[in-house]
Amino acid sequence: MLRNKLVAAATLAAAALVTRHAYADFEMHYPVIDYREAELEHNGSTSVDNRSNLNNNQSYTVELGYGVTPWWEPEIEFDLGAAPGQNWTYSATTFENTFQLTPQGEYWADLGFFAEYSHAASRIDADQMTFGPLVQKEWNNPFGSGVDTLHTLNLLISKQVGRNRNDATPVQLSWQSRLRLNAFFEPGIEYYGNFNNIADRFTETDPTHRAGPVVVGAYNMYQYGKVKYELGYLFGLNNATERGTVRWRLEYEKSF
């Protein structure tokens, strides 16, 4: 079973190396699959800064996914965005795959693998592949605090492919830790680091670092499905980054 998962994940990762597309994407990916559940998900973010070239940078996605097997969830994603001072444009159509590599809770941490292919809507942009490991750790009652915690790490590497590609290797490092107070309200903190080209010297505009509070929750309506949300505010941690970014996720899921 694990071998099948690794082969499938490796195949998509290999496809990624042959393909491309790059923009800031503030979305935490979790390595646990909701088998037989259909998802309709919206992610969005908008930046806040007194510099006009960094203010009101918007990104929106709508995603449809389904847990086909206990270890594989494919999603189709529609990406829209608006650079500061510009109108919205449809930027890409993305085929996303999440693989759950280990049963939840069996090992020290839960391991998954993420692979997506993003087809740019504009002819002047290149397609892009993004892939990398997803790690999640449940840490119950740390230091006798009486509160359970959940920690998630994403390390995603991107490569552009096809027409108009460049040779850069963007890397996004994302981390989230939250307190599992109850299912409706789980406060936490998160960090997003974007490196436009990990193999190159850092510049005034690269990398960007953002960190801030987040609230995550879910409301179960049982036979009518479940609503999940995430709402966070990310503070820019260096001069290359906008002063703040609001990010959100709203998801409806239902089992079939």
């Binding site: 909701d34 490991p133 036979q223």
Partner: protein, 110 residues
């Protein structure tokens, strides 16, 4: 060079799946029959890892779900799943069948 090293590191991290299973962890069994759990309360030891085997004796699928335990696993009709849990602090943790939410129970860690 750096790119290759990074890709190698990524691949190694992905393949470095721990292979040691927790064979010694205590195991408990829950059976779903006629769309109900056979035990409304399951006592487990606190502060240790354990597994719960969920057997579905019905022909329709069920989903073992618990917000308290952060678990959500489908068990097909006639199928069996293993749910890996703990260590839990002493207390009561509710679970239910998400496909039939009237079927409910508690895991009590003592």
């Amino acid at each position: 060079m750096l790119k290759r090293s990074l890709l190698g590191l990524l691949l190694a991290a992905t393949l470095a799946v721990p292979i040691a299973a927790h064979a010694a962890d205590p195991n408990f069994t829950l059976t779903i029959k006629d769309r109900k759990f056979d035990a409304a309360e399951l006592d487990v030891p606190a502060n240790v890892k354990f597994t719960v085997t969920v057997k579905n004796d019905d022909k329709v699928p069920s989903e073992f779900e618990s917000g308290d335990l952060n678990r959500e696993q489908v068990v097909v009709g006639g199928g069996t799943i293993t749910v890996f849990l703990g260590p839990l602090t002493p207390g009561s943790y509710e679970f239910f069948d998400d496909f039939n939410p009237t079927a409910r129970g508690h895991i009590v860690a003592k």
